[in-house]
Amino acid sequence: MSETVELKKAKDYATDQDVKWCPGCGDYSILKQVQSVFAELQVEIDNTVFISGIGCSSRFPYYMNTYGMHSIHGRAPAFAAGLKSTNPNLNVWLITGDGDSMSIGGNHFIHLLRRNVNLNVLLFNNEIYGLTKGQYSPTSEKGKITKSTPFGSVDHPFNPLALALGADATFVARSMDRDPKHMREVLLKAEQHQGTSMVEIYQNCNIFNDGAFFTFTEKETKDDTVLFLEVGKPLVFGKGGNKGIVLDGFTPKVVSLDEYSVNDLWIHDDTDRVKASILTRFFDDPRQENALPRPFGVFYRENRSVYETELIDQVQNIISSKGPGKLNDLLKGNSTWIVE
């Protein structure tokens, strides 16, 4: 028996709710990309769940025509872990922001990665608190002037990908809102990975932190500041690919390809944990002289067993070895006596 299945289009993944982000927000671009990637993959609507915490980005589930949960601040990873433990077959996407995942939900974030629950995390990093109207975030650079730090912030920021790798994440990637093509590729790879796929997306908050990433996203500067990672390819960047990265011991150095051959450059291997760790430390202020370029793409991936599979396998193995539990035996216990 055959059935004609109508192909789903990107708009089939949109809900009838009005999208209420500020006009010009980077979130629109991410929503659009996710919907087109879903159409490309023909993602099953009824089997997909978007889970978010609190913040501008966390409104995302309301706009996706799938199952969705808008939970509480920072706790989405915990909800997702329970959801996947009960139904491991669901396709789960976790939407979070830099405040949600790095600040109030920091604990859940690292434990999600260590457990390696099979889902995709999209961390919209705009280096600011948007929903609460403009306080600095744990990813804002030191000295940031905001409403809550009129004289500049004094605390050192998190490096989200270094944190993720430190928590033994099995898939670590970065993309940006203004490069839909790149985002598409990263999302596809994230979806393919078994385990927690951690994708940081640089997202512009045009109201409270406009231009935070312009050096990486705008034509005038991006050639010299952005390093696109491609597996098996040398680390080349700069106008016309005139610069590259070499590793001197464990120290990365920017070299000019007028002086060096491409063959001398660092070749990207996304299964090399040590090199991935060095790459996450490419975190210089791009305005600084001789700054290392900021890498985008998949830094690292590894196959490691998935939490919910381990959990369910253990239950199944115990059922096979002991036999399914009998409730009456449990109610009776090991030792009884008769009163006559």
Binding site: D46, S85, T86, L330, L331, W337
Partner: protein
């Protein structure tokens, strides 16, 4: 010398010693034997708060109180008749619990100068010999010495030999209370299976203890406690936390849902996790989360996926979970919240009992967030009320609190074995996906006559919808900031909880008179002691009745009518007056509080004294 046999109605024994003295095992064995002989029993272990406090110190004393009788017993006993102490610290920390004229059985080796110093007896003065214990019957036995002599030729090292001291105590008490050794012999053979030297040594010491009673000539009286008039049937012993764990498994099986238990270790709730982690062959999933908040969120995540999400903790952990409870109220998903209460506030008294989290359960959330609350009355009642919490959560799509406390969580009592066919059915309010189409679209927050929405879970065909913590539009569940809608939704969520009153049993008078002068209105673990007090007061001719409330929100529909049948209402609580606020608020009655906030259960006499203070007349 002739030995007299004296018949006793009930006896309370308190075993006390160092954590390493095998006190819990000794108490447990005596309990089993008493149960097998048909006594009614109630027990309460008392663990030190520190894990391995220095040997010989008061902080390291472990206790096990056992109350057994030929009459019904409802509590582990206010004070003990017999105090067994393995060292000076055990005596010092428990002597105030011994009845006037009570018996002390002391291991003299535990009263050497080192032990007296560690127990901080002034000038190392030995209370056993210095006359300070006048009025008690003291039996001093050099248990260490006799045990060592018994095992002289066993080939075991001194440490292993000394470890069997507790068997001497057990053997001696078996003699004193005319108990057979068979059950414990079987237990030893089982426990040390394959280690014949340990079986032989433990049995030798057990028998040495028994024979000591016969030969020592110091003991002129043996006691007999006949079997109690307990309804015919098959019984087991059950502890509160164990009963809670079994109830959760039973409710999952009866509802056809998979149990997901998300928790973070905390005293005194952790044992529920330990039990459930062993029950994986029932399909139980236990999740030891990174913190209390993650534990409840994971459980709610499981419920969203169609599991029976349960989270458990004690007061401090419950406080941390509060925001997620509110979300559960908004989601309208099943969630069972177990609170094994302990002394608070803050870290408080982790190993002591209290029932001071009732108002937290009833009101401890932001916004209007009503959550049903049930509470267990005794160790075995933990089974019934935890099961009820699951039934209400699943059938009424709501978070539900199940309150237990440290006293009944660790206490034990006999429980007549039940079978699964006797358990009330639990029917999840799941959607039928075929009920909906383009003309009749699925509305996730449309309610039935109970005010309950349908449970659609990810994976259900064509029912994709979004849930969240933002206020929802009535029926559709879409985000809504509309003023009128918010008021409607608050009222609808309240109404749903209120309507549960139609699906719970009516309140009854547990014992005493059906109407009269004084009503003792209690809840939670005070059940046994109030019942014991009421039985005595009735015997003395007082007009007193006892109603014990197990459903605290919503309250049974006839509770007001019962309260109004009495002139006065006394409410004993192990807190500073919490349920009394609810009763005064709902029914405008001038209820009188009886409050104890010492981390300890009430003594029967304390209840009796209060009634006598309040009651003016006696039944002629």
């Amino acid at each position: 010398m002739a030995v007299v046999n004296e018949i006793k109605q009930d006896v309370t024994i308190l075993f006390a010693g160092d954590s390493g003295d095998g006190i819990q095992l000794t108490g447990g064995q005596f309990t089993e034997t008493a149960a097998l002989l048909g006594n009614d029993i109630s027990t309460f272990p008392n663990f030190p708060a520190e894990i391995r406090a220095p040997q010989g110190t008061v902080a390291g004393v472990s206790g096990f109180q056992l109350h057994f009788g030929s009459v019904k017993v409802y509590t582990p006993g206010d004070n003990c008749d017999v105090l067994v102490v393995m060292n000076a610290a055990a005596l010092k920390s428990n002597i105030h619990n011994l009845k006037k004229g009570g018996v002390i059985i002391a291991n003299s080796d535990g009263f050497d100068s080192k032990n007296l110093r560690l127990a901080k007896y002034p000038n190392e003065s030995n209370p056993i010999t210095d006359g300070s214990l006048e009025g008690f019957k003291i039996h001093e036995i050099d248990i260490t010495k006799i045990t060592r002599e018994t095992l002289n030729n066993s080939g075991l090292g001194v440490k292993a030999v000394d470890r069997s001291k507790n068997m001497f105590v057990l053997g001696f008490l078996y003699w004193m209370y005319n108990r057979p050794l068979e059950n414990t012999i079987k237990f030893i053979e089982q426990k040390f299976k394959g280690k014949q030297d340990l079986i032989d040594s433990n049995l030798a010491v057990l028998k040495a203890g028994y024979n000591y009673g016969d030969t020592a000539e110091a003991f002129t009286t043996r006691y007999e406690v006949k079997s109690a008039d307990i309804p015919k049937g098959e019984y087991r012993n059950i502890m509160g936390n164990q009963a809670t764990a079994i109830a959760l498994v039973a409710a999952a099986q009866k509802s056809g849902l998979e149990l997901f238990y998300g928790t973070y270790p905390i005293t005194p709730a952790s044992d529920i996790l330990h039990y459930l982690a062993k029950y994986k062959n029932f399909g139980v999933k236990t999740y030891q989360a990174e913190d209390e908040i993650a534990a409840v969120c994971a459980s709610l995540g499981s419920s969203y996926a169609g599991g029976l999400g349960v989270t458990a903790s004690s007061g401090p952990g419950i406080a941390l979970k509060g925001e997620a409870f509110g979300l559960g109220v908004m989601f309208e998903l099943p969630l069972v919240i177990v609170n094994v209460q302990r002394g608070g506030p803050s870290t408080g008294l982790p190993t002591k009992t209290e029932q001071a989290d009732l108002l937290q359960a009833l009101y401890g959330r932001n916004g209007e967030a009503p959550i049903p609350v049930v509470a267990a009355a005794s160790p075995k009642d933990c089974f019934y009320m935890a099961y009820e919490a699951c039934r209400i959560a699943v059938e009424h799509m709501t978070p539900v609190f199940f309150l237990s406390d440290g006293y009944i969580a660790n206490g034990s009592e006999p429980w007549e074995v039940i079978t699964e066919d006797k358990l009330q059915s639990i029917t999840p309010n799941r959607v039928n996906v075929n009920d909906y189409n383009a003309e009749n679209p699925f509305k996730p927050y449309k309610r039935d006559e109970k005010g309950v929405r349908k449970w659609a879970i990810p994976g259900d065909k064509n029912l994709a919808h979004r849930i969240g913590g933002l206020e929802k539009e009535n029926e559709t569940g879409n985000v809504s900031y509309d003023a009128d809608n918010h008021e409607i939704m608050v009222k609808l969520r309240q109404e749903k909880v209120d309507k549960i009153a139609d699906y719970i049993p009516l309140q009854t008078i547990d014992s005493g008179v059906e109407s009269g002068e004084v009503l003792l209105l209690s809840w939670g673990s005070t059940y046994g002691v109030v019942k014991t007090a009421v039985n005595q007061l009735i015997d003395e001719g007082f007009s007193v009745g006892h109603a014990h409330v197990r459903y605290l929100n919503p309250l049974p529909k006839n509770l007001e009518e019962i309260i109004k049948r009495f002139d006065k209402v006394i409410m004993p609580e192990m807190n500073n007056g919490q349920f009394i606020k609810v009763i005064r608020d709902k029914f405008l009655v001038p209820a009188i509080g009886l409050n104890k906030i010492k981390g300890l259960p009430f003594a029967t006499q304390e209840i009796i004294d209060k009634v006598k203070e309040v009651a003016t007349k006696e039944i002629a």
